[in-house]
């Protein structure tokens, strides 16, 4: 059994707790949150030991691993404290508020040899996994351009009052929404290392941007357009799409549907012309499903890595730090 503690029982934190609660190899040994209504509920009904201070929790109990799901500005302090106690860390995205903090934590995690993962769940979506496999196997030839998009209805009116509206807390569409898409491009193609131009647009928010439009380039010299808007009510929920152009074909994929056009007949089930595959064909079974397989799959993967059943190679701190670096480059164009 892996002993797990969690800091930050908000929307993502409670979701992680539920998945961990159903995991056969996990024992939840502590939960930390500043909201009494949340901790009272968890101690009363879920019989979890709750704390309001993460240091006190980690000093008292000795978990094997910790989940950090607090606003980004608190990540650095909590993750550092945990690593120094040799506790494995799963942190929510984005990784850190700035790249210097991220670099320090990447090095510290390596020094202490702890398992480290960041919650970019798109990596565990069947269609996006298949896109990566297709690119790597050269099915669409040499990749030369991408379009990465994400839209959804988070901020649809002027009034706002949470940490998401505060840039110093890690709020704003770039860190919260666009980070998912940037991270996906970094993983599927190669890390974004140059920003040719960017617009950070406020639509309803006063203090942060609600949309990010940018022209980018990856380390492999692939050009791309990023178009992300969290104030788009024409979407029921967050929808991410990547379109990738190659010399021998094209891929259009969202979390549900993968469309591949190839110029030549290829092995692996893809034939000349358009091919369509659905998430139903590409989804692995999970033991417990809450809000979608990818959330359980990423937690399972982390627990497997802690138990040494899988390598610690997907969504590492280092990968997430690359994404933080791209975010910093885009911010410069404000």
């Amino acid at each position: 059994m892996i002993k797990v503690a969690l800091v930050g029982a908000g929307k993502m934190g409670v979701s992680h707790l539920s998945i961990l609660g159903a995991h056969p190899d996990v024992e939840i040994v502590g939960v930390c949150d500043t909201s009494k209504i949340v901790t009272d509920f968890l101690s009363r009904y879920s019989k979890m030991e709750c704390f309001s201070n993460f240091q006190k929790m980690l000093d008292k109990i000795t978990p094997d691993a910790i989940f950090v799901a607090v606003p980004t500005k608190f990540h650095y302090e909590i993750i550092k404290y945990a690593i120094e106690k040799n506790i494995h860390v799963f942190a929510e995205k984005p990784f850190c508020l700035n790249t210097a903090q991220g670099e320090e934590l990447v090095k510290l995690a390596a020094k202490h040899r702890i398992i480290n993962q960041v919650g970019y769940h798109n990596k565990f979506v069947g269609t996006f996994k298949e896109v990566k496999r297709l690119i790597n196997s050269g099915v669409i030839g040499d990749v030369y351009h991408f379009l990465a998009e994400s839209y959804g209805p988070v901020v649809t009116k002027a009034k706002q009052s949470s940490w998401r509206s505060n840039p110093d807390d890690g709020g704003g569409c770039l860190m919260d929404y666009a980070s998912h898409v940037i991270d996906l491009v970094n993983d599927i193609i190669s890390p974004i290392t140059e920003v040719k131009g960017a617009t950070l647009k406020s639509i309803y928010s006063q203090t942060v941007e609600d949309a990010v439009y940018a022209v980018l380039e990856t380390s492999s010299k692939v050009s791309g357009i990023l178009s992300v808007n969290w104030s788009d009510e024409t979407y029921r929920k967050m929808s991410t799409t990547v379109t990738i152009m190659g010399t021998k074909g094209k891929i259009i994929s969202d979390a549900n549907e993968l469309k591949v056009f190839v110029k030549e007949d290829k092995t692996g089930g893809y034939t000349k012309g358009w091919n369509v595959k659905y998430i139903t064909d590409l989804t692995d079974q999970v033991n417990f499903n809450l809000r979608g397989e990818e959330y359980s799959a990423q937690v399972d993967y982390f627990i497997d890595a802690v138990m040494k059943r899988k390598p610690n190679t997907i969504n590492t701190f280092e990968n997430a730090w690359e994404t933080d670096k791209a975010i910093a480059l885009i911010k410069k164009h404000k």
């Binding site: 707790l17 509920f41 879920s46 029921r236 139903t280 079974q285 417990f288 397989e293």
Partner: protein
């Protein structure tokens, strides 16, 4: 429960395999008239139970139903609550406590937070009851014999092991609405075990059941084992796995499974409603549903 239940996903742009289709549906069902027209097609095909989320737009649909008592005299709605995205977006913006404050009427919230007093378990259950009552307002005067808890909440509570809350939902629905509580889940075998352990007999459970095992957590075999060996009123949803399985093959599989009391499906066109109904009727004739 009727053998076939008509669902609402198509009306609210929920499509599990295509964002493009969901956009097309959102355009098609922009007006309440378009929804009503499709519901009438379902009625013409013999379907009198509409299973729907407590989406704001259902308010308008309920108004039409109330205004035409003669046409909808046999019509039943199975509400499924809450409309999760409403709360998910609110939690994103306001946090958990802020969301409760926004959606719970009355003074309860204020009294809970006064001076950080220790909460009694009763307060949480009262809180949940108030939220159920707020969601149920739109159905006043409409026959709602079964009321469901949406899978996001059922499964969240299941993972958190907050079994008392699941039981409290069951009890409140029974007592206040003289209705039966149903549970939607993506983890049917696990939920069954929990409900059974808490003394909820012959539960109504709606879950994904399809030939390819899509969204059947654990394994397709675990689901089939429950259906074969346990007593419950099971509803199969996502039988077409979002359109991944051809309808005849998909419906043949699910029609021939034991212990499936109802099949839930949604469709946008008269033609698709009629063909799905006729497939189910055909397979039921070949192998009548097995009684528990």
């Amino acid at each position: 429960m009727e053998r076939i239940l008509f669902g609402d996903n198509q009306f609210f742009a929920v499509n599990h395999i295509s964002d493009e289709k969901s956009r097309a549906q959102s355009i098609q069902f922009k007006s309440d008239d378009a929804i009503i027209k499709t519901l009438n097609h379902a009625q013409d095909a013999g379907l009198n139970t509409f299973m729907c989320t407590t989406h704001d737009r259902i308010i308008g649909i309920c108004d039409v139903i109330r205004k035409n008592p003669e046409q909808y005299k046999d019509f039943k709605i199975y509400p499924c609550m809450p409309y999760a995205h409403k709360y998910a977006n609110a939690v994103t913006e306001l946090g958990i406590a802020g969301t409760i404050k926004q959606y719970v009427p009355g003074n309860l919230f204020g009294s809970i937070f006064k001076g950080g007093m220790a909460l009694l378990s009763k307060d949480y259950i009262s809180l949940m009851e108030l939220m159920i009552d707020a969601e149920m307002k739109m159905f006043k005067g409409i026959n709602t014999p079964v009321i469901f808890l949406q899978n996001v909440i059922t499964d969240l509570l299941l993972g958190l092991r907050a079994e008392e809350i699941l039981v409290a939902f069951y009890n409140h629905i029974k007592k206040k609405y003289n209705a039966e509580a149903g549970f939607i889940t993506m983890n049917m075998p696990k939920l069954y075990e929990v409900l059974e352990r808490n003394g909820i007999e012959n539960p109504i459970i709606c879950s994904s059941i399809n030939k390819v095992g899509f969204r059947m957590s654990g394994s397709i075999k675990a689901y089939e084992d429950v259906l074969k060996t346990k007593k419950g009123r099971f509803i199969a949803m996502q039988v077409l796995a979002g359109g991944a399985i051809p309808p005849s093959e998909a419906l043949e599989y699910v029609s021939k499974l034991p212990n499936i009391e109802s099949i839930l499906f949604g469709a946008s066109s008269k033609k698709n409603i009629e063909s799905t109904v006729s497939y189910i009727e055909k397979f039921d004739k070949e192998a009548p549903p097995v009684d528990k």
